[in-house]
Assembly symmetry: C2
Homo-oligomer: 451 residues x 2
């Protein structure tokens, strides 16, 4: 491995120049800016790094996917999931340097997309180049699937993977991004929650009416409030019948892993200006609740007059946007059916569940998987610190297509640090994390060959 690490140490600046090339090209999926230019640029670069590459389209019209492969010393195969699209850069006035003019400063590199997720793509390519230069080929085979719709909710990835299972056959998967914590310990995350987004709508009279009619005219805002209040109680228990039925209890290893995660509750409280958490959780309960529990969250409520001052109106419409974060083995379809039944059973058949974005299943890789040990041991070797194992992130993503459909143990690792500000102005990486992240991938490839 020493030769590989040395190659990375000697050549990372060249890779950073390539990363700057990627970051100079906007690729904003939400605004369709630069997407058509991004694909050939990345394809060319991957080919320069020795990856056989082709452009694929999903079953629906959408931004194309880039598939890449490189044969290794064994048929054992590691699949990388990444994305070439980035978040919109707005608000522009908060950027210290223009978002698509990559800027090095004090050992950092600032640009939109540098941490999420172009930096990871190049760090992974650099590791593969090191093996090709030093040994001719990597210890295991690799595949890349790089989509262009991650920042708009990956609407087509599940169908694409469903119909390309042979092409994407592999033994394990490295997820798009990850990184170190505030103590510079490498964090290895093993899951994402599922998600279900619904809009609840209630209609009343055919138009807004004068509020003096509140004596006799049903108010959809009240109907919505009562329906919502029936879904969750003040102790934060979700009251939808059977909502918790399919939840798997955590394994002993998951409990131990959660126990070992450093506590950050004071920092969280301070950064959010909070005096307390829900149920006043603290310590292990705080961590396990965040990692293991499903949610039922109000993202927005809208009804009637919400401007300044007052208007005495009885609104004709009320709506709420909710998102549920789901944990294994909950399923969006099952939750939506239970939600419908709950509303009907509680007298709220007038509350319409409006179709929204497709849900995602939760995904979690078992701590018993040998791949977890591979990634952890590699991290310990490269970072020189004990890695932190997080059984699941609190967020969501299309991971179930990889863990479920493809059946791959999947780990989130990468080159971010907690100050990277992905999705925000002045997104950046520390170049030291870029080097370590590239070496970590190199070490994973090596150890995977000898499992």
């Amino acid at each position: 491995m020493q030769q590989i690490y040395e190659y990375i140490d000697q050549h990372w600046q060249e890779a950073v120049e390539d990363l700057k090339r990627l970051c100079r090209q906007p690729s904003i999926s939400a605004q369709n800016v630069g997407m058509a230019e991004m694909v050939p640029l990345l394809v060319r670069m991957m080919q320069e790094y020795g990856i056989s590459t082709r452009v694929l389209t999903g079953p629906s019209a959408g931004y194309p996917l880039i598939y890449g492969e490189l044969e290794g010393e064994t048929p054992i195969t590691l699949l990388f999931y990444n994305h070439y699209d980035v978040q919109p850069p707005e608000p522009l006035e908060l950027w210290t340097s223009p978002p698509f003019e990559p800027t090095e400063y004090e050992g950092n590199l600032r640009a939109r997309g540098v941490s999420d997720n172009k930096g990871d793509i190049v760090a992974r390519l650099l590791a593969l180049k090191a093996y090709q230069k030093v040994h001719g080929r990597p210890p295991v085979s690799v595949k890349f699937i790089i989509e262009g719709e991650e920042e708009i909710g990956s609407p087509n990835i599940a169908a694409f993977i469903d119909s390309n299972q042979d092409l994407l056959k592999a033994d394990a998967c490295i997820w798009e991004c990850g990184g170190v914590n505030w103590r510079d310990e490498p964090v290895i995350s093993l899951g994402l929650k599922g998600i279900l987004c619904v809009q609840l709508e209630v209609r009343g009279a055919s138009k807004d009416v004068h509020s003096s009619m509140a004596t006799i005219v049903p108010n959809p805002a009240w109907r919505l409030v009562w329906a919502l209040a029936s879904l969750k109680d003040v102790e934060d228990n979700i009251r939808i019948e059977g909502f918790y039925d399919k939840i798997m209890p955590p394994s002993r290893r998951e409990i131990d892993a959660i126990d070992a995660i450093p506590l950050d509750e004071d920092e969280t409280k301070e950064s959010l200006g909070l005096e307390r958490f829900i149920r006043d959780v603290t310590g292990y309960d705080y961590k396990s609740r965040h990692i293991l529990e499903p949610t039922c969250n109000i993202c927005g409520i809208d009804s009637g007059y919400i401007g300044t001052g007052f208007k005495t109106v009885l609104p004709c419409m009320a709506s709420a946007k909710l998102d549920f974060r789901l944990v294994p083995d909950q399923r969006p379809d099952d939750v939506i059916a239970k939600l419908r039944k709950h509303l009907d059973d509680h007298g709220f058949s007038d509350v319409v569940i409006a179709p929204l974005i497709e849900g995602e299943n939760p995904a979690r890789t078992s701590l018993d998987s040998p791949f977890v040990r591979v990634v952890s041991d590699a991290a310990r070797e490269v970072y020189g610190l004990e890695p932190v194992i997080v059984p699941s992130m609190a967020g969501s993503g299309p991971m179930y297509s990889f863990t479920g459909t493809l059946g791959l143990p999947t780990a989130l690792i990468g080159i971010m640090y907690p100050g990277s500000s992905p999705h925000a102005p002045n997104e950046h990486i520390r170049l030291s994390d870029f080097i370590l992240g590239s070496k970590h991938v190199a070490a994973v490839l090596k150890r995977m060959a000898s499992v």
Copy 2:
């Protein structure tokens, strides 16, 4: 009386020309358009009609009030409450003729403010002119108080009346407007509900956060939903402790009056596109609920992301605007204190009651008052139909200053019909209603002298 009625029949066209002069002058209090021009125009016209007139200012800076008086044959005094301001005319594109170009068509007169409330002012002036021309002076003395802020909630009228009780001393009051129902029966209303408008606000984290934090971060939208749901149950019972305590039961006469009001529930359902009313009320229950019951209404709710599509956010703020319509002897201050106590008692001390517009006490004139008989008998004589007595309107207004502070029995009568569209495009009156309304006032003056 015959001479008086004949005078009105012979001279109403001249009064309508004067009404057009008033309507040509915009007087939009909400937009401060034409207010300064309206006052001298109306003062001059009142003087032309023989009324001693002066302009008064309220205790606060605001649009001035016009006071007028005319001595009658007895010191018995009738006070007219009117207003010279009008609603904004928008949306202009829905008007058949320009809102400030009064237009006669098919026996109607169309203009902003013609029904609310300039037509009533001129109809009342015409009745007084008739007495002056025929008998030299009216049978009783009259006073006018005409404010310029009715359409913006009469923020200064209560304080003005408080400090001008001697000036406004009278024996009874005729309210700004009223009219006939769809069957052309004269409607005499005897009260207005009080009102209390509050904004409830809940704050959470210092900024909106990613909805994956819903595991641990309190959501102010949920807090608001739970607090609101505690205020009123699905059967429309207001659950604020003691809310109903001070409500006076209806008198036998009020019950009988409500019983005699023609039913319009089918028309109401159809015009509002409703299949059912709250609690499926019908018949007497429908009428009495609308007339006698207080309300707790959500005018608007606002929290988080309410645009199209989805944003998985946990909002940092949630607010709701509520209005309570109050009935005798509820008081806004008392209800707000009970609301605060209710929220505290139910664990919602985090829900802030933000100050809004000043509340109004409910006002209702007893059916036992001799003045009610005066106004009813006068209506029967002029309209040739049995008048409909409505113990209270469902709406609100600053009537308590007249019934409470000044102690006056007060009746709402006027020149509208149900198609008049006050506050809406193509506001208009039927000129036949203008003539009848003027005669009704003349008859009231006559009968008042002989009580």
